[in-house]
Amino acid sequence: MAIIEIERLAKSYRVYQKKEGLLASVGGLFRRQHREVQAVRDIDLHVEAGEFVAFLGPNGAGKTTTLKLLSGVITPTRGMARVMGHVPWERSNAYRRRFALVMGQKNQLWWDLPAQESFRLHQQIYGIEAAEFERVRDELTSLLDVRSLLGQPVRELSLGERMKMELIAALLHSPEVLFLDEPTIGLDVIAQHNIQTFLRHYQETRGITILLTSHYMKDVAALCRRVVIIARGRIVYDGSLSGIIDQFSGHKVVTLVFPTEVVPTGLERFGEVISHQAPRVKLKVDRNGIGELLSAILAEHTIEDVSVEDPPLEEVIAEVFSSIAKEPAPV
């Protein structure tokens, strides 16, 4: 049975449309024009217990709005969602004790106090038994290697250390569902890697359900088997990461290595030459009919090595996002 069920969920906002200039500002004191922004448009989604799902999409696509709806921060315009059987925006304590939301750009810890004080407060708020609290806290601080920083005011921690503390605070009550909104934003490569490793280990050992939004493909590739692409408030893809390439990319990259530094001319007729560093040439070719194309090349030229690869995932996703951006806005 699905742990998260979303049916025709929609959220729209009424936003003030201010025209440019001082006169327009004065005019805005008397009369204002508003526009309805559809942040989430009738999405349907089912997530099974134990899944680690990534939400991908350009800025303003509706990813964070969806997480806010599922965590009960905002109320939908219409539609239904149930997480572990609870309607999130009813904000029942029974539900709030079973999930956690971590936002990479928002601090939930007490800024001027050491993280251990915030942890102690969470223990009381979530009603965690003292022995269980200490066990989980010690386990998490060891895994994330921040035990020595527990007594340091949060404001004096680095961004990476702070994010680790945020994660610990969110996991102290052992949530069954975890919503992560860009947890690695602004972190350096090492800190990103540490958080990824921790999340993978934690999810595998606890089997909790995680929904993650991130702009870092490395996060997604390292953690999630299932990817949901949201664009303009709609789900445009739901499947595996590799499936994105199959569905959205019409080409493959063929790398030809010639035996000498002299690269033959006329390769353009096989496909678009995307790089030329003799003796190596990369061609962007149609993914249908790769076999015939390779036969033709090998028939005409002597090749020392050949490889056929999918285009980089970031490139495919960027193409998907930009093609969606070019489409006329849905009504």
């Binding site: 906002y13 964070t64 709005t65 806010k68 965590s71 009960g72 921060v73 905002i74 109320t75 904000r91 304590n93 709030r96 004790r97 999930f99 956690a100 939301l101 936002m103 750009q105 928002k106 601090n107 939930q108 007490w110 001027d112 106090l113 004080e117 915030s118 102690r120 407060l121 969470h122 223990q123 009381q124 708020i125 979530y126 009603g127 005011p153 909104d181």
Partner: protein
């Protein structure tokens, strides 16, 4: 069920105590700012005493609107005690800022009551404030003991303490309600300015509101502002007594209940229309 309820109470008390303790700890972080902010609150008191000294020196009258110079000084000292309970600096702006900046999310996702949390936070602020300000207050009152006619009787003192405690709660719920308006209008600073102005004049902090006559005086005596400063001071000075005192306390209590309901209702509907600003 009953056993569970009995069992739940100590754990709830422990939660409240933890919130209170952490709020106190947070309050004590910036020692310099806190000490300065606490001690500087005595400055307006001194300026008020000088102001009314000059007014009485200029008029040659023994009394103004039934208040002698001695009464005025005693009154101001007492309104400062009342405001030490009822003033809530930064509460409304803090709530509005959290709504606009998105920090309020943590109260929506955690199993904690935001209004209760903020109330405990204010209790913590006040406790720390009294801890620091008690000695200066005692010194000022000792030096100014000549302006008072001794201590009031036990019943009046009880009513005075009750009015201070209710004044604290009225001040909290009024300010919190103003902050909740941030759910409807994101920028509330001008509105808060007007509110602060009203509070300053019509709480009796500037002058005793029974000096106001006519419809304006009647109107502001019906408002809850008087409970923030005038009412406790008037009780201590014996200006309100007997059935008037009992009625006054009953009306103050009714205002408190009304403000609690208004604040809770505003929060209930506010979060429904909250748009989750700030990422």
């Amino acid at each position: 069920m009953a056993a569970a309820a009995i069992h739940a109470s100590p754990s709830k008390l422990k939660t409240w105590w933890t919130i209170l303790r952490i709020c106190i700890e947070e309050r004590l972080v910036y020692r310099g700012d806190f000490a300065l902010g606490t001690l500087m609150r005595f400055l307006p008191l001194v300026t008020q005493v000088f102001l009314w000294s000059a007014v009485f020196a200029g008029t040659k009258q023994q009394e103004i609107a039934g208040y002698s110079y001695r009464d005025f000084v005693a009154y101001y000292l007492l309104t400062n005690v009342a405001r030490a309970f009822s003033s809530m600096p930064g509460l409304a702006t803090g709530i509005a800022r959290q709504v606009r900046g998105g920090e309020i999310k943590k109260f929506l996702i955690q199993p904690v009551d935001m209004v209760g949390f903020l109330l405990l936070s204010r209790v913590a602020h006040k406790l720390v404030y009294y801890g620091v300000a008690l000695a200066p207050f005692a010194l000022v009152f000792y030096l100014c003991r000549g302006f008072f006619n001794g201590w009031p009787d036990a019943a009046t003192m009880t009513a005075f303490v009750a009015s201070l405690l209710m004044g604290f709660l009225i001040g909290f719920y009024m300010e919190a309600l103003m902050g909740m308006l941030g759910f409807w209008m994101l920028e509330v600073s001008s509105l808060l300015f007007v509110f602060i102005l009203f509070t300053f004049f019509f709480s009796g902090h500037m002058f005793p509101i029974d000096m106001l006559s006519g419809w304006l005086g009647w109107f502001f005596r019906q408002m809850p502002f008087q409970y923030l400063a005038y009412f406790p001071a008037a009780i201590f000075l014996g200006k309100i007594s007997g059935p008037d005192l009992a009625w006054g306390l009953a009306v103050e209590f009714a205002w408190l209940i009304a403000l609690i309901i208004a604040c809770r209702t505003a929060f209930h509907y506010g979060v429904k229309r909250y748009a989750g600003y700030g990422g």
